[in-house]
Structure formats: structure tokens, C-alpha cells
Amino acid sequence: MTAIADALIHAPVPKSRGYWASVAVRLSRDPVAMVALAVVLAIVLAAVFAPLIAPADPLKGSMIRRLRPIGFPGYPLGSDELGRDMLTRLIYGGRLSLFIGVTPVLCAFVIGSGIGIFAGYLGGWVNTMLMRVIDVFFAFPSVLLAIALSGALGAGILNSIVSLTIVFVPQIARVAESVTTQIRTRDYVEAARISGAGPITIVRVHVLGNVLGPIFVYSTSLISVSMILAAGLSFLGLGVKPPEPEWGLMLNTLRTAIYTQPMVAALPGVMIFLTSISFNLFSDGLRSAMEVRQ
């Protein structure tokens, strides 16, 4: 008997993982999410190290070698309407495209969570007032609001980032408000308040830890939309200005080539699509790994 008891006492205790570690493990068992993450990482790394891996200069063209087909010697993915190397421009294009696509979501994450948590934690008339204002922004379809704002502000990278941030802030704030309202009435928050914790301590210790996860997952699902919209604004001529390489703008300037070099003309869109779908699939995987219900 003692031998069995001994064995039980000295049996190795299974180490329990923390929440984020278990999310990472679950995520690593999701093949779709892992492939999506690999694609996103590849595009990001290519953009960061563009000067090292790109075969040519993204701005230097040759008018006698314009619109070469895919696979032409010296131009692995052909050349554009000004004879610039497409592969180089697609690699460099990731820099601006990712920047103008991801930045608005980051900014909106900070501002929207702030507004939402503030409104949700305070409750009462402050909440009602803020949320009614937020409701007004939901009366505009996102594409319309983005184009209206950047149309009024004028073309430019900064203006397009500002417009898209304004589009996403209400959406994130609404999610942040609803999760904070749920957490606020929990017993442990009540207990902390009764034991004398101030509002800042309660928000920092008890609220933030519980609400940032769901808000974060929701925000990652917006990156895909943001990439499409940001490139769309450049496509319309409202974002990045020529001759900078950016996928939306490249898609626009290559429209004249759809009869002569259709494959080359479609390439920038392939990049936008690839990035957008990878972010989407990764976000879906992250959501199920975190078991967050929307």
C-alpha cells in the first residue's frame, strides 16, 4: 500500500499551461491558420527586407522595355506600363500597402477600446450618449464613409489612414462597450470595488485583462477589410500618389494594359487578395483558438 501511495505522491504533476500558451498550442494545431500565418509573415518579411531581395530598382523603368510578359528574361513577373520590374514593385508595394492597411486598425484599436471601455465601465447616461453618437456612424456603409471622408479631406496617405481610422473606431468601440458592460457586473469586480479598489485599479487589473482579448480578435478580423479598403482608396486615386509602389495604385495604373498584358495587369490584385484572405483565415483560427464567441 505504501508503495502505491509513494508513487502517487511522487508522480509528476502535469504542468498546466497559461491561457496564452494554450491558445498558441491550439493555434499551432490548426493547419489553415498556420498556412495563413506563414503567408502573412512571408509578405511582411519580403516588404521589410525589400532592398535586399528585390532584383531591381522599384522606381527605375525603361520605356523600350515596357509591358513585358511574365517570364521575360530579366523580368520574372514582367514589367509595368513604364517598364519597371513587376516583381520588385510587388515586393516593395507590400511596404505601403501593409502600412496603410494595418495602421488604421491599430489606431482604431487604441481609440475604440478606450472609448468603449470608458463608456462600458461608467455606464449610465455617459454610456448612452457615447453609444448614440457611435450609432450615427453605423448609418453609413463603411465603404461610403471611407470614401466620403477621404474625398472631403483630399488625397494622401495620412488622409486615407485618418479616414479609415474613423471608419473602424465606432465598430471597435461597440464591441469594447458590450464586453466591458458584461464584465462590469461580475461578482469579482463588485468584490474588488467593495474591498476599496479605485476605478483605475479595477479597470487595469480586472477589466482590461478580460476585455482586451475579445476586442483584439475582433480587430484582427478588420485588418482584411482595411487592406481592401486602403488599396481601394489608392485605386481611386485617394491614397498613395504615383510613382510610389502600392498594390491598389498599381492595379489602377495597369488597367490600360488589360488588353495587352492581362496577366501582368491582374498581379497587384492577387497580392491584395492573398494578404486579405490570409489575415481573414488567421483571424478565424485565432478566434476559435481563443474560444471567443462574437
Binding site: 448609418a139 456603409p141 481601394g232 486579405s276
Partner: protein, 317 residues
């Protein structure tokens, strides 16, 4: 029911006022004021001030807003700077074309979306379900303006089956329901339908799966109802939500059609917006956005009331 409808209308009023404030402020977001674009470059400071006074731009913003709103409520959206014509007549002509395109696209998206959603919801985790899920991810991830270009490349540039741009053979600004004009709407409508298709497929799949797992379905089967009879129950239960999603998608498409309309040179509101932005025609920009946003607000209200009429369980407070 009447009381509920009235409460919804009451609730929508502040939203509508908020929308009008945002549209009014849009013009003031722009660098300079709306007159900068029309003012002659060599106008003296005194002449500029005179013009500003004549148009009321020297008054405080709240008063300007009041005057503007009063005019809007009387159907006066101002005149387009580029063409000089009333904004309202320009917008109403374009809205017709956009509405036709968005409706056809919503119909295509709804038909295929519900079909794929039902198949996926009925056969969970089968290869059919996987295919339908992949299709809906494609629908929400694809840059639709690029899809439009790809379709033009395939069906216009390569095969030569369909016209690449425009709404009709005469190059005129209006689409008409005849066989010749029908060829022009096919590509933009298919391009546009991809988004609602994905979203409706996703919604219907979740709805069907949820309904099938409920106890009343088990009870129906237990009392010996055939699969067809059960299917009819599933349809009746899924219909209100599916129709509501369809209605909202119509609104999103109408407001978000600018990119697709630009690709296909479709003479709708998106095309009008594009022109307004690049000619710095701020009254036209403001008027078009106001009309589209108000349309979206009213559509939301209509969908909400209709959905509650069809399914009284979902009254919102």
C-alpha cells in the same frame, strides 16, 4: 406592433439628424471652404469676403447648418459646381442606375448564398460544407474591384462575349430592361454579388445548423414528419433573418458601389461621387452622400420593422 413601429421611428430620428450633421461637416473638413474651388485665382481679399458673405459662409457654423438643413428638408441640395445643375436631379438620375445594379446583385447573391448556406447547414462538416465555407471566405476577402477587372479581362478582353464598360450600347446614362442593355449589367452585377453571397451563405449556414439542432425539429421527426416537411419548417424559421440580412446587404451595396461602378463606368451614384471628388465639387459630394446615407437609414428601419412583423419574437428595445 404599431407602437413598436412608432418607437423605431422615434429612435431613428436622432440618428438621421446625426447623419445630416456629419454630411454638413464633410464640406467643412475640406481645406479652405467650398468656394475656394470656384473662386477666380486673382480675386482680391475684399471680393472673396463679398462672395463668402453672399453664400453665407461668414456666419457661425450652427446657423449655417440650420439654413442648410431647412433647404434640404425642402428638397434643395444646392447646385453642382461643375455642371451648375441642381444636385437633387443629378443624384436622383444616378440613384436609379445604382439601385438597379445593387438589386440585381443582391438577388444573385441571395439566390446562391441561401442555396450554399442551406447545403452547408444541412450537411455539416461534409466536403460540400467545406466548399461552401471556402466560397464565403472568398466572398468577403476578395478585393471586388480586382475581381471586376479579372472578369473584364476574361469575358471582354479575351473572349469578347460581354461589353467591358458602360450601361448601354448608345453610351447614354440610363440602363433599360431590354436584351441589349442586359448584356451590360451581367459583369458588374456578378462582381458585386460576391460580397452578399458570402455573407448570406455564412448567416444561413449558422441559422440552419441552429434550427436543426433544436428540440422542435426532433419532435417533428418523432411524430413522423417527412424530410420535406421538416425542410419547410426550417425555411419558415430561417426566412426572417435571411431576408433581413439581404435587405441590409442591398443598402451596403448601394452605398459601397463606388469602386465597382468606377471599374465598369456604370453611370450610378458611385460614378457621380468619383466625379465629385476629383472636380472638388463639394455640394455634389455632400448631396450624394446624404441621399445614400439617408436611404441606408430608412432601409434599416424598414428591414427592422418587417423582420419584427414576420417574427414577433425578436422585438428590439
Amino acid at each position: 406592433m404599431l407602437l413598436y413601429t412608432l418607437r423605431r421611428i422615434l429612435y431613428v430620428t436622432p440618428v438621421a439628424i446625426g447623419v445630416s450633421i456629419i454630411c454638413f461637416l464633410l464640406v467643412h473638413l475640406a481645406p479652405g471652404d467650398p468656394l475656394t474651388a470656384v473662386m477666380p485665382i486673382d480675386a482680391t481679399a475684399a471680393q472673396q469676403a463679398e462672395m463668402r458673405q453672399a453664400y453665407g459662409f461668414d456666419r457661425p457654423l450652427p446657423i449655417q447648418y440650420g439654413i442648410w438643413l431647412w433647404k434640404v428638408l425642402h428638397g434643395d441640395l444646392g447646385n453642382s459646381i461643375a455642371s451648375g445643375r441642381p444636385v437633387l436631379s443629378e443624384v436622383s438620375r444616378a440613384v436609379g442606375n445604382s439601385l438597379i445594379l445593387a438589386s440585381v446583385a443582391t438577388l444573385i447573391g441571395f439566390t446562391f448564398g441561401t442555396f450554399f448556406g442551406f447545403v452547408a447547414g444541412y450537411f455539416r462538416d461534409s466536403p460540400l460544407d467545406k466548399a461552401a465555407s471556402a466560397l464565403s471566405v472568398f466572398g468577403v476577402s476578395v478585393p471586388h474591384y480586382w475581381l471586376g477587372i479579372v472578369l473584364v479581362i476574361i469575358f471582354s478582353a479575351q473572349l469578347g462575349w460581354l461589353p467591358p464598360t458602360g450601361a448601354g450600347p448608345d453610351g447614354s446614362g440610363n440602363w433599360r430592361p431590354d436584351t441589349e442593355h442586359l448584356r451590360y449589367i451581367i459583369l458588374p452585377a456578378i462582381t458585386m454579388s460576391v460580397i452578399p453571397m458570402g455573407i448570406i451563405a455564412r448567416t444561413v449556414r449558422a441559422l440552419v445548423a441552429d434550427i436543426l439542432s433544436q428540440e422542435f425539429v426532433q419532435a417533428l421527426r418523432a411524430k413522423g414528419l417527412g424530410e420535406w416537411g421538416v425542410f419547410k419548417h426550417v425555411v419558415t424559421n430561417a426566412a426572417p433573418t435571411a431576408l433581413a440580412v439581404m435587405g441590409l446587404q442591398l443598402g451596403y451595396l448601394l452605398g459601397g458601389s463606388i469602386l465597382i461602378e468606377t471599374v465598369f463606368a456604370w453611370p450610378g451614384t458611385g460614378f457621380l461621387l468619383n466625379a465629385a471628388i476629383f472636380q472638388r465639387d463639394l455640394p455634389l459630394l455632400q448631396g450624394t452622400i446624404l441621399v445614400l446615407a439617408m436611404f441606408f437609414v430608412m432601409l434599416n428601419l424598414l428591414v427592422d420593422v418587417l423582420q419584427t412583423t414576420l417574427d414577433p419574437r425578436i422585438q428590439r428595445t
